[in-house]
């Protein structure tokens, strides 16, 4: 994979406002690492102009439509319709042409083999955790803590269960699973047994809370950040986050697209991160 024109294999709404798109992608299974993302060009015109970044949910093979032809290699993204670009994406159908740049960025590091793995997902932030779970289930106990505002925000959890992941669901309104924040579940689990690696993706306030919980207990944490970005290759500098030790005179900016989107918690200047909530359409 790199920069290529391809076609959509399927595009379905899986929960109110949440969509799942399957895209033909030769080489995806070998090339894509857990936590990487792609830049998606909605259509080959000026509207929308920029590509949108999306975390890669999973890769695989499906049988060909035509008898006797080899299976078709695909990748999947999940997206939430929040703006013009994602609204246009939700109008696309099987067979429509799109353009993909990817896989991009640094993905997750699997952590210490054999140690318990806790994945924490907030809403659409669950996306990059699936391939990580696939990678980890062989030799580790893997748990998914999934949180959302309501039951509509809880997506594809059963697919994690099929991998053998123990899942814990919480919603703020109590419409599914425990009532409350996913971070409360994390705190509880780490208080019972802090010997774990934590991996998290979701809104920044959730990540900040996860970081506090892990830091207090000296639990290793990796986070996948989302950011507005124009290029995805480290040139526009739109997606920067402040790295640890950053100052005006000695800037230490990290590109979410290139040095991330997955960071070890200790790489980031947590007390100085900018709030960009409500502006991001993609999930990276």
């Amino acid at each position: 994979m790199s920069n290529f024109k391809t076609r959509i294999l399927a595009n379905q709404e899986i929960s109110p406002g949440y969509w799942r798109m399957r895209i033909q992608a030769p080489g995806a299974v070998a090339d894509c690492r857990a936590g990487q993302f792609l830049m998606f060009r909605v259509q080959l015109s000026l509207l929308p102009l920029l590509r949108r970044p999306f975390g890669i949910f999973r890769t695989g093979f499906q049988p060909s439509d035509v008898d006797g032809l080899p299976p078709v290699e695909y990748l999947e993204i999940l997206y939430k319709v929040v703006g013009q670009g994602t609204a246009m994406m939700s109008e696309l159908h099987h067979g429509d042409r799109v353009e993909i740049l990817g896989p991009l960025g640094r993905g997750f590091d699997g952590g210490e083999p054999g140690r318990r793995k806790i994945l924490v997902g907030g809403g659409i932030g669950l996306v990059p955790l699936y391939m990580l779970a696939e990678q980890l289930v062989g030799g580790n106990e893997v748990r998914l803590l999934m949180g959302g505002r309501t039951r509509d925000d809880i997506i594809v959890v059963t697919e994690f269960e099929r991998l053998g992941v123990q899942t814990y669901v919480s919603t703020e309104d109590g419409s599914l699973g425990d009532r409350g924040l996913v971070t409360a579940v994390l705190q509880q689990q780490l208080d019972t047994d802090p010997d774990a690696d934590v991996f998290a993706c979701g809104p920044l306030p959730m990540l900040e809370a996860v970081h506090d919980i892990c830091r207090q207990r000296q639990v290793p944490l990796q986070v996948s950040l989302e950011a507005l970005m124009a290029c995805g290759v480290g040139a526009c500098l739109g997606c920067v986050v402040k790295g640890v030790g950053h100052s005006e005179t000695s800037p230490r900016f990290l590109c979410t697209c290139k040095e991330g989107p997955v960071f070890r918690a200790e790489q980031l200047a947590w007390d100085r991160l900018d709030r960009t909530e409500g502006t991001c359409e993609g999930c990276k």
Partner: protein
């Protein structure tokens, strides 16, 4: 990587202020990093030139995020000239650029006249740099940049200081955020600029109506992309008539046809900016398209097209 077959049929080569280029296509500063970011996606050896991200005397942090947002057929940015600084550029970025068979143009800026002079002096000492582009037009930083670009006397002074410290070809990038761009163009030409590139971004603003907040943290930003192309073409047309030095056209180019508008208006070369974000091989497509156009129109040398506007 990419083959160069059929380039023999058509000459795309141009020369600006002694700077020879295989074709008239180069990136706009700030949209192409330091070149290496794009190496996986296009053959850097095929470009007319490479223009670096704007450099300053010391590393610069840039503005808070959000720094970018999309607008209709364009985008606003207020990156704030984040860059590694001229010394780190020489140490860490030049080694890669040295290996590429394409002229490198370093874009730079200063906060004071002294800084402009000092950066120029340091860049002048890099033998592999083909030329420099002086930024007196960034709309997103308080000091420097646009302060020098909107006043003819200040522009003259900045160019004068740089000229005294520089033997290399000097391109000056102009801002469109003025009443009459030809006044500034004449001022920098008088001060010894070898060429001008126009235009930098237009100051703009976009508001998130639900949050009642500007979409970018800096409140205002520079508008780029296809939305600004007609303005850029008009300004290039005006500047070409106002000065005798070569003009490099920039503003919203994403295809060969877009580039041709500028060449026909009289630009000797073009810069591709925002399109590099949309398509990392956008310049390759522009170059291929220019060649195709020349073949179709039976033009042996692209220079025949430059300034061929009929009015």
């Amino acid at each position: 990587m990419m083959s160069q077959q059929s380039t023999a049929k058509v000459s795309l080569a141009v020369e600006i202020a002694g700077l020879r280029m295989k074709n008239p296509v180069m990136p706009a500063s700030g949209t192409f990093g330091y070149g290496e970011e794009f190496a996986p996606y296009l053959d850097l050896n095929r470009l007319g030139a490479i223009v670096t991200k704007g450099l300053s005397l010391r590393p610069k942090a840039g503005n808070p995020t959000p720094r970018i947002c999309e607008t209709v057929s364009g985008m606003l940015n207020a990156i704030g000239l984040q860059n590694v600084g001229v010394d780190a550029f020489i140490e860490h970025k030049m080694p890669f650029l040295r290996e590429i068979n394409t002229p490198v143009i370093a874009n730079f800026f200063g906060n004071t006249l002294e800084e402009y002079g000092e950066v120029a002096r340091r860049l002048n000492d890099i033998p592999e740099l083909a030329a420099v582009e002086l930024n007196i037009s960034c709309p997103n930083v308080k000091q420097g940049g646009i302060v020098f670009g909107t006043d003819p006397q200040a522009a003259h002074q900045a160019v004068d200081v740089v000229r005294k410290n520089l033997d290399k070809p000097l391109i000056v990038k102009l801002t469109p955020n003025v009443t009459d761009i030809t006044v500034i163009a004449r001022a920098v030409a008088d001060a010894g600029a070898d060429a001008v590139s126009c235009i930098n971004t237009l100051t703009g603003m976009s508001i998130d109506v639900r949050r009642r907040k500007p979409r970018i943290a800096n409140r205002t930003g520079g508008l780029s992309g296809p939305a600004i192309r007609p303005i850029a073409v008009r300004m290039v047309h005006q500047v070409v008539q106002a000065v005798d030095i070569p003009v490099i056209g920039v503003g919203g180019i994403s295809s060969a046809e877009d580039a041709l508008e500028f060449l026909i208006a009289g630009a000797q070369a073009v810069q591709v900016g925002t399109a590099n974000f949309v398509d990392p091989d956008a310049m390759q497509q522009v170059i291929d398209g220019l060649e195709r156009f020349c073949i179709e129109e039976r033009i042996a040398d692209i220079r025949e097209l430059i300034g061929s506007l009929e009015v």
